[in-house]
Symmetry: C2
Subunit: 378 residues, 2 copies
C-alpha cells in the first residue's frame, strides 16, 4: 500500500536534489565565482598580498562546497512568491540569493574560531589553515594568534562583500526596497542566535526552552525562514503567501537544527565530514542533550545523567565515550522523542504550504527541501 | 611677524573644535544614540539576553567617546562638495555619516582582540570587559575565550548595523547610488589595511615602504580620504572637487598615522588613554620604527638597532625601556624626520584644497581638521 505523502515525507528519499535544484546550485556557484573573481581583480589595486592571502582564501572556502541551502530556500521563496523561472529577472535574483552564501561564510569562519574547530567541510578550518601556513613559513609571533586574527578579517570581508553582492545584483529599486527588511532581520537574528549559543554554554543553561530558542534564531530564522522571506519579498508576494512560507520556514528550520543535533551525536565522520563527537567536545547544549538530562533526572537515573554531563566539553572524547552517550540517549528515549518532534515539525511545516496557492513546482521543491533538511545523514 | 598660514598650520592651535565641529559631533552622537535605541527596542523581540549583553555593550562602547573624526571629515566633504548646512537634506546626511562610527566600532573591537589590548578609550576593551564579567559570574569554560567570542559578535553586529544605519538614513535614491562606490571601497580598504598590519608584523617586514602602504590603506583611505569622498558623493560634487578632497585626504591621512606612530612611543598615558609603550609591546612596525632601524643600520650603530629590535613585541616593556627607545630614535634623527614629513604632508594636503573653489567655512574647517589630525597629543 502506498503511504500518504505527508506521512512518508521524512523517509521518502535520500536527497532533495532535483534537476531544478541542481540548476539553481550550479548557477549560485557560478555567480559566486564571478563575483569573487571581480573582487579579486578590484583588490589587486589595493594590495597584492591582501589578494593573495585573504581574497584567495575566502574564494577557496566559498567555492569548496556546502549545501547552498540558504540560496535554494530563497530561490524557492521567489518562485513560490510568483517569481519567474526564466527571463531577465532571473539572473539578478540568483545573484542576490547567492550573497547568502557569503554571510554563511562569515558565520562559519567566525564560528570555527569561537568553537576552536580545526576542520570544516572535510578540510582545515580557515584559522587552522592560516596558523599552519604561519608555522610553515616560520613567521614571527604566535601562529595561533595570527590564524585567528586573519580569520576574523576573512569573516568580516565575507560579511561586507555579501552586502556588495546584494547591492550589485542588478535588482530593481522596488526589489531592493522590499528585500531590505528581511535582509537586515536575518543578519541580526544570525548574530543573536550565535550569541545565545555561546551564552547558554557559558551559563550551563541546559533547559530545553533555551536550546529551542537558539535553534529558532540560529537555524530556523537565519537559514530557512528569512531566506524564504527574502525570496518572496523579491517577488513582491502577498502577505498570506509570505506568512505561509515563513511558517513553513520556522518549522522546517527548527527540525533542521534538531536533525543537526542528532547528527552531532549519531553522525558518522565519513558522512558529516566532522570528527566524531565534535559537538559534544565543544559542549554544545542542544535540545537533544537538554531532553536527555531532563529525562534522566525525572527517572532518577544518576548514572545516565553523569554520562550526559561529563561528555559535554570533554576535550578527550573518542568513539567509546560517544558510544556510551548514544546508548544512554537511546535508552532514555531522548533520541526517539527528538525524531518524533522532527517528524511532527516537518509535517506541520509542509502543511502550511497547502494553505496558499503557490506554483506547483515550487511547492514540490519546498517539500523536497523539507525532506532534505530534516531527513539527511550529513 | 605673522607666519604664513600654511607654514604655521601644525602648531597654530591645540584643538580643531569650532562651534561648527562641535555641532556636528553632537548631532552625530545624538543620531547614534537614537539609532541604537531603536535597534535595542527592535532586538528585544529577538531575545532579551542579546539586548542586555550585546546591544547594551555596543551602545556603551559607541557612546563612550571617540574623536568622531570620520563623520567630521565626511560632513566637511559634503559641505565642500556643495551640500547645505541647513534644510531638510542635513539630517539624512548626518545620519549617513554617523554610520562611519559603527564601522569604526567594529574595527576597534576586532583590533583589540587581534592585538590582545586590554584597554580602549581609558576603559577595559570589549573582550576584556566580557571576560571579566565571565569571571565575576563564575560562568563555565574559559573567560578569555568567552570574551573574545562575544567580542567578535559585537564587532560583527556593529559592521552590519553600519549598513542598516546608512540604508535607513533617509538619503535620496541618487545619493544612495552615488555613495555606494566609496562606501564599498572604504570598507574593503579598512580590512586590507588591518590585514597588512598583521602580515607585516608576522613577516617581520620592517621596510618603510610597507609601513607607508599600511598607513595609506588603514588610516589615509579608510579614515580620511573615503569619508571625504562619501561626503562629496552625497553632495553630488564634480570630479575636480572630489579629486582635490581625496588628494587632501590621502596626505592628511598618512600624516595622521605618522602622528599616531609618534604618540605610540612619545605619548603620555594621561593624554592618550593607553598604557605607555602599548604600540611597542604589540610589536607594531610603524614608519617611525622602520626609519629608526634603517638609520641605525646606515650608521652601523648596532647598539641603537638592538634597542629598536628588542623593544618590539617585548611583553615586559615599561617606562625605562620606552625612555631608552625614545632617546635612540631622537639621536638617530628618526623622530625629527617623521615630524618633518608630517609637516610636509600637512602642507601639501591643505594646498590641494586651494586648487578648487569650495565653501569657505568648509575650507577653514578642513584646514582645522588637518591640524587636529596631525598636531594632536592624543
Amino acid at each position: 500500500m502506498r503511504k500518504s505523502p505527508a506521512r512518508s515525507l521524512p523517509v521518502q528519499r535520500e536527497s532533495a536534489e532535483t534537476t531544478d535544484d541542481r540548476t539553481v546550485v550550479r548557477s549560485v556557484e557560478l555567480h559566486l565565482e564571478a563575483f569573487l573573481r571581480d573582487k579579486r581583480t578590484g583588490c589587486d589595486g589595493i594590495d597584492p598580498d591582501f589578494t593573495e592571502v585573504v581574497t584567495a582564501r575566502l574564494t577557496e572556502f566559498v567555492t569548496r562546497g556546502g549545501k547552498r541551502l540558504r540560496p535554494l530556500f530563497a530561490w524557492w521563496g521567489w518562485r513560490a512568491g510568483g517569481g519567474n523561472s526564466i527571463g531577465p529577472a532571473v539572473d539578478p535574483v540568483l545573484r542576490a540569493v547567492s550573497a547568502l552564501e557569503l554571510i554563511q561564510a562569515c558565520a562559519l569562519v567566525h564560528d570555527d574560531i569561537m568553537d576552536g574547530s580545526r576542520t570544516r567541510r572535510g578540510a582545515p578550518s580557515v584559522h587552522a589553515a592560516l596558523a599552519a601556513e604561519h608555522n610553515v613559513q616560520q613567521w614571527s609571533g604566535s601562529a595561533e594568534d595570527f590564524g585567528e586574527s586573519v580569520a576574523i578579517l576573512v569573516g568580516d570581508i565575507a560579511l561586507i562583500w555579501a552586502d556588495d553582492m546584494l547591492m550589485q545584483a542588478g535588482l530593481s529599486r522596488g526589489q531592493l526596497a522590499r528585500v531590505r527588511g528581511p535582509w537586515q532581520m536575518m543578519r541580526t537574528e544570525m548574530m543573536a542566535g550565535q550569541f545565545l549559543d555561546l551564552y547558554g554554554q557559558a551559563r550551563r543553561d541546559d533547559s530545553e526552552s533555551s536550546a529551542l530558542n537558539t535553534a529558532r534564531l540560529k537555524t530556523a530564522a537565519y537559514s530557512v525562514e528569512r531566506p524564504l522571506h527574502i525570496g518572496a519579498a523579491l517577488a513582491g508576494a502577498g502577505e498570506s503567501t509570505v506568512a505561509a512560507l515563513r511558517g513553513y520556514g520556522c518549522d522546517i528550520g527548527v527540525a533542521f537544527q534538531l536533525r543537526d543535533d542528532l547528527l552531532g551525536v549519531y553522525g558518522e565522520p565519513e558522512s558529516t565530514g566532522k570528527p566524531i563527537g565534535d559537538d559534544l567536545r565543544e559542549g554544545k547544549r542542544t535540545f537533544l542533550m537538554a531532553m536527555g538530562a531532563r529525562l534522566a533526572r525525572e527517572r532518577g537515573d544518576d548514572a545516565a545523567l553523569r554520562v550526559i554531563e561529563e561528555v559535554l566539553g570533554d576535550p578527550d572524547i573518542g568513539a567509546t565515550k560517544v558510544q556510551a552517550v548514544r546508548e544512554v540517549l537511546d535508552d532514555l528515549g531522548a533520541r526517539g522523542a527528538v525524531e518524533k518532534r522532527i517528524h511532527h515539525l516537518a509535517e506541520r511545516g509542509t502543511a502550511r504550504l497547502g494553505e496558499v496557492v503557490i506554483d506547483p513546482i515550487a511547492h514540490a521543491s519546498l517539500n523536497e527541501l523539507a525532506i532534505h533538511a530534516t531527513a539527511r545523514d550529513r
